[in-house]
């Protein structure tokens, strides 16, 4: 859709999908509404009270009841399936998306790119690339909402939620917090700036001197002493983290979990929650010792260990040893 009045801009692949669904829903429900209104009007006029004419009593008809139960239900199943397909697309980020870490707090949005660039209430993204938001909140529940992308995800304290989009049109779009978050809720707004790739590269390098997130993470990893246990040689008291991210991990109690952002986060804050098989719960908790930003850096570092070629910031552990 272009820029019709009363129609929001659409600037992502998802926006087109949602618009199509919306138009379909509008059409079907418009037809239904017209149908009911027309019938109501016709009946209201046709069967208005006339002298000497009495109402004809009708008990009802099971056939009719079934008809107007089943047909709408089938139509609704189309709504359901179509909506579910879009939802699954929205919730399944592509593997190689650019990642932006987001920390929401009362009442601002803090973004950090993988390259270490930080922004507040403004998010610069390139057109034509997949971008994945990895979001958490420092205090209450917020919600990341970009109408032009037709996307929204609540941002929760104590946990990551994610969201991804593929911007299609350069421009500046509204960013809203859509979950009521306290006094300045309506001030927790910002802009998503979608840029041509060239402009984006220029913007990314403009700040200069930024330390990539994974490097910050690596530094923290040694400062906090993580590296003394999480080592590649067999002497380590904790599992080697190379190549772990994104894989499934077998736990002490027999369950398996996918080592995603939330798992890494939880393992730092609540090490005893999910012990990898073969290890003892000896790691102390880092709850209260690392900020949300630092956690993001650590998570990104662990993530970088799973990608030997690209994000490898020159660590000793080049080989991904199999899990013990």
């Amino acid at each position: 859709m272009g820029h019709l009045p009363f129609w929001p801009e659409s600037a992502s692949t998802n926006a087109g999908n949602v618009d199509a669904l919306y138009i379909f829903l509008l059409l079907v429900s418009g037809i239904m509404t017209m149908l009911i209104f027309t019938v109501l009007t016709v009946f209201a006029v046709r069967f208005r009270k006339r002298r000497g004419q009495r109402a004809v009593q009708i008990e009802g008809s099971n056939q009719l009841e079934l008809t107007w139960s089943i047909i709408p239900f089938c139509v609704m199943m189309v709504f359901f399936i179509w909506g579910a397909v879009i939802y699954f697309q929205e919730r399944t980020p592509p593997q190689d998306a650019d990642e932006v870490y987001t920390v929401a707090k009362q009442w601002m949005w803090k973004f950090e790119h993988k390259g270490g660039q930080r922004e507040i209430n403004e998010l610069h993204v390139p057109v034509g690339r997949d971008v994945k938001m990895i979001m958490t909140s420092q205090d209450v529940i917020h919600s990341f909402f970009v109408p032009a992308f037709r996307l929204k995800q609540d941002v929760l304290p104590g946990r990551y939620t994610t969201l991804w989009f593929h911007a299609t049109k350069p421009g500046t779009y509204h960013l809203f917090c859509s979950q009521y978050c306290g006094t300045q809720h309506s001030g927790m707004v910002g802009w998503v700036v979608v840029m041509e790739p060239r402009d984006y590269e220029a913007w990314m390098s403009a700040g200069g001197g930024n330390q990539p997130l994974a490097v910050t993470g690596e530094k923290l990893f040694s400062e906090l002493g993580c590296v003394t246990c999480h080592r590649s040689d067999t002497q380590g008291r904790g599992p080697d983290l190379a190549g772990v991210f994104g894989k499934s991990v077998l736990l002490e109690d027999g369950r398996t979990v996918i080592a995603d952002e939330n798992y890494v986060r939880e393992s730092i804050l609540e090490p005893a929650a999910k012990i990898v098989r073969g290890f003892k719960p000896v790691m102390p908790t880092f709850q209260g010792q690392v900020s949300d930003e630092q956690l993001n850096a650590l998570v990104d570092y662990v993530k970088s260990l799973a990608r030997p070629q690209s994000g490898q910031p020159g660590n000793t552990n080049g080989v991904a040893t199999p899990q013990p």
Partner: protein, 549 residues
């Protein structure tokens, strides 16, 4: 059977004149008097909530927010929501019309537990006083949903007194529901079998199930919120290992079915009105009864469709989306059946029928936009925007308030013994309809444009639609004030009502207007089906009260 003519002599003893003085009202156990107590208190809260709504709309005239501070604005929408939801829409129809009419409709002398009925009014009043205290003490700004951890850890306002108010009002609602279920099971007149019950009674039966089984869950949840605030328990606090989504699960487990507490009784009213003014049996009585009970039961299975973007699991979202469509089917059945009822009828257009028309139309729109919200991909975009606001106001204001006003007009002769001025009634119905649509239709567009709810300030491109909405709200306010004025006027100056001014079917029309304290002079015995309009005469011509009186 329509010959049970009752002479309305002047000095007949009625429930209204059987006792005088404050005590005879405040200590009454007569369900009709309690209904009137509710009527007054609920009207009071309706106007308080409406006042907040008007302030909200005035504030939103300009994008920059000049009228009040953000802080105040947040309190306004919170208290608008809490007052309207817990003190008007939920108790509205059941506690006033249900209370008044159920014993009359089933041929009983009173509800099964008259003293509990009075107790539930007092609980309502206590809850209301706590709410008023909250308002006067500086208000509360949690949003009516009390979402944690905002409500438990971050806000400095009167969360606990507001929570307590909601808690106490909740028990009022539970006791009302309990009373209705027992009454409908145990107090029916001889011959009044389940298949002869008016749909109004069926609707209240279904509503009561939700009140009894749903409300306790929100009650304990609210208690946990208060305890968490007082003692920092951590059940919903992520900093202490709690899950804020658990609060949302427990809250919506009640608060979604609560939507059906709001709308089911209204559906009952509309069934009565449509039949009466079409002079027809209801089309598909069985289907209608199954539909109300179906809505009540399935309504319990769909709550997490309020949480599609909250961070619940994908699979849970899928289940809840699917189940949400199941509840749409019985709702659709109801709309179709009302429409079909009018087929080959002999329709007249008195005020109640106008409201019923309004209800069917607005409920259709509200219901269909509900399908948008149940649709996962769609909901992600419109969730927490004005689309949601418009949707549920179409159901609650377009649905519940329309039907409530329709019902008030329909049964006003029975309640007060006086006719309301028909001309004014029609005028008010028209104003309400126009004002309502102007207020809330633009909000659908605003929502799809992306305007989030609960926003004190908004980007200027949304202003035109907001101005339209505010204009509508002022019209709506006039529409609501009018009935209030002429109902009051009619209590003194209205024409005396005959016992059955509409020649309507139903036991409540076979006793005097207003009824005696024990409802019937003789125990009625029912030998006919509901809505036996084939045996009823046409609606008598009602002398219009000159408008300029």
């Amino acid at each position: 059977m329509a010959t049970a003519v009752v002479s309305d002599s002047g000095e007949r003893e009625t429930y209204l004149n059987s006792g005088y003085g404050l005590k005879s009202w405040l200590l009454t156990v007569d369900h009709k008097r309690i209904a009137l107590l509710y009527l007054m208190s609920i009207t009071f809260f309706f106007f308080i909530g409406g006042f907040f709504a008007l302030l909200i709309r005035l504030e939103l005239l300009t994008p920059g927010g000049g009228l009040v501070q953000s802080d105040t604005y947040n309190k306004l929408f919170t208290m608008h929501g809490q007052v309207m939801v817990f003190f008007f829409v939920i108790p509205g129809v059941p506690a006033v019309l249900g209370n008044f009419l159920i014993p009359l409709m089933i041929g009983a002398k009173d509800l099964a537990f008259p003293r509990i009925n009075l107790l539930s009014w007092y609980l309502y009043v206590i809850g209301g006083i706590l709410m008023i205290y909250t308002i006067l003490n500086g208000g509360v700004d949690t949003g009516w949903t009390f979402y944690t951890p905002l409500s438990t850890e971050f806000l400095k306002t009167n969360v606990i007194s507001a929570a307590l108010g909601v808690f106490v009002a909740g028990f009022s609602s539970i006791l009302t529901g309990l009373n209705f279920i027992v009454t409908i099971h145990r107090m029916r007149a001889p011959g009044m079998t389940w298949n002869r019950l008016p749909l109004f009674v069926w609707a209240h039966y279904a509503t009561s199930i939700i009140q009894v089984l749903g409300t306790p869950v929100v009650a304990i949840t609210i208690v946990l919120v208060a305890l968490e605030r007082l003692f920092h328990l951590g059940v919903f606090n992520p900093a202490l290992g709690g899950d804020p989504l658990l609060f949302q699960h427990l809250f919506w487990f009640y608060s979604h079915p609560a939507v059906y507490i709001m709308i089911l009784p209204s559906m009952g009213i509309v069934s009565e009105i449509v039949c009466c003014f079409s002079r027809k049996r209801i089309f598909g009585y069985k289907a209608m009864t199954l539909a109300v009970v179906g809505i009540a039961v399935i309504g319990f299975l769909v709550w997490a469709h309020h949480m599609f973007v909250a961070g619940i699991s994908l699979y849970a979202a899928l289940i809840f989306s699917l189940l949400s469509y199941f509840v749409a089917v019985p709702s659709a059945i109801k709309v179709f059946n009302w429409t079909a009822t009018m087929y080959k009828g002999s329709i007249t257009y008195q005020t109640p029928m106008l409201y019923a028309f309004g209800f069917i139309g607005l409920f259709t729109i509200g219901g269909l936009t509900g399908l948008f919200l149940a649709c996962l991909g769609m909901d992600v975009h419109v969730h927490d925007t004005y689309f949601v606001i418009a949707h549920f106001h179409y159901i609650m204001v377009g649905g519940m308030v329309m039907a409530y006003l329709g019902g008030m007009h329909f049964w006003w002769p029975k309640i007060s013994g006086r006719m309301y001025p028909e001309g004014w009634g029609k005028l008010a119905a028209l104003i309400v309809f126009i004002g309502f649509n102007l207020t809330f239709f633009p909000q659908f567009i605003l929502g799809y444009m992306g305007m989030p709810r609960r926003y004190h300030m908004y980007p200027p491109e949304f202003q035109i639609l907001n101005v339209l909405s505010t204009a509508g709200a002022t019209i709506l306010a006039v529409g609501y004030l009018l009935p209030m004025i002429y109902f009051t006027w009619s209590m003194r100056y209205g024409d005396p009502a005959p016992s059955n001014p509409w020649n309507a079917a139903g036991l409540e029309w076979q006793t005097h207007s207003p009824p005696p304290t024990f409802n019937f002079d003789e125990q009625p015995v029912v030998t006919w089906e509901a809505y036996n309009y084939d045996e009823m005469d046409e609606i008598p011509e009602i002398r219009e009260v000159p408008v300029a009186n």
